[in-house]
């Protein structure tokens, strides 16, 4: 796995697990790989993966069954989409607006492009 320069690794791994859940690799109620298995796949320290799992657990995307491992929560997919929407609106959209303003692009222009995009 190639890590981005600035985002902490544990969050990048959490993102990756979310992507895999969205892609249907692990369905709701299904077990995800163990900490050790995941650490091996992405070549990181197991403690980092523990942090990723903890994070996903507090976000109620996965849950722990004692001695059995971690499972995708019911409604986990929806939770991921909600979270991503939140992050997009909070962190990425303002940057997008800033660029529109700097480059003098009107929201009308963007709207036409978006409509065309949806048709494709």
């Amino acid at each position: 796995m190639k890590f981005k320069e600035s985002k902490s690794i544990y969050l990048q791994i959490a993102d990756r697990i979310c992507d895999e859940i969205l892609q249907g690799q692990y369905r709701e109620g299904e077990r995800i790989p163990s900490v050790r298995e995941y650490a091996t796949t992405v070549e990181v320290n197991a403690n980092t993966v523990v942090r990723s799992f903890d994070y996903l657990q507090t976000q109620e995307i996965i849950y722990n069954k004692r001695g059995l491992g971690y499972f995708v929560s019911q409604g986990g997919r929806e939770r991921i989409l909600e979270l991503r929407k939140e992050v997009f609106l909070r962190d990425e959209l303002p940057e997008f607006f800033r660029q529109l303003k700097n480059l003098g692009i009107s929201i009308k222009e963007v709207e036409t492009m978006y409509q065309n995009y949806l048709k494709e």
């Binding site: 890590f3 981005k4 320069e5 600035s6 985002k7 902490s8 690794i9 544990y10 969050l11 990048q12 050790r36 650490a39 091996t40 796949t41 992405v42 070549e43 990181v44 320290n45 197991a46 403690n47 980092t48």
Partner: protein, 283 residues
Amino acid sequence: MNTKMIDVAGLSFSYGRKKSKVLDNFSMSLEKGSVYGLLGKNGTGKSTLLYLMAGLLRPQAGRVLYKGADITKRSPSSLQDMFLVPEEFALPNVSLKQYVKLNAPFYPHFSHELLNACLRDFDMNEDIHLGELSMGQKKKAFMCFALATNTSLLMMDEPSNGLDIPSKSQFRKVIASGMTDEKSVIISTHQVRDIDSLLDHVLIMDGTQLLLNQSVASICERLYFAEQGMNEPTHDALYVQPSLQGNSVILPNTYHEDSKLNLEVLFNATLAERVKIQQMFNL
């Protein structure tokens, strides 16, 4: 519960009486269940420290306790529980099977399954002959043996030197999969990019002393690593290093945000701004 694995206290060492000291009143301790990265410029005593910890050299002052036992006694119970992979080594001109047959009995937890799994990961098999291998292959074979000994402490001096591109990734997989709460690995290296995601603890040494001994978690709690564009201000930064897009900077982590540890920048910062960085850890 005692989680301490090795305890180094007041260690001094020089190669010969009149030579300058490599280590001077050097102290540190390592815990169980961690992967330590040992960083330092050339000639600052990283390998010497590993040899002292393995009982291969004797300190002129101070002591090394391995699980409470003095390592200079070289008692079998200590030596069978640790393994050192030096940067350079010679292997006898025998088959791997013969080598294992001769050497595995010294390590009571030796695992043949682990050996085979590791060889497989590195695209090798147990039918190799140690006399017919290239430098990189020798290194891989010896590392497989080292991991298979299943000792609590594994010390590796520049393990990724001489490994080809796919093997570096395999090396990380092998270490990541081999870790347990009872084992510790200490990796001395200059190739920080080869190992930075594996570490959970960073040791930086310079000029006979240990400058930094912190867990990655505590480093990222106190320091914020960022890539900034050319025109972003850097006056708050503890350390600034030019990069492709502008600057790599280390800031105090005032807003308690998570960032990715940049080992190279941390290393340069610790050497250049030693006091500033150490103050962040209240040392």
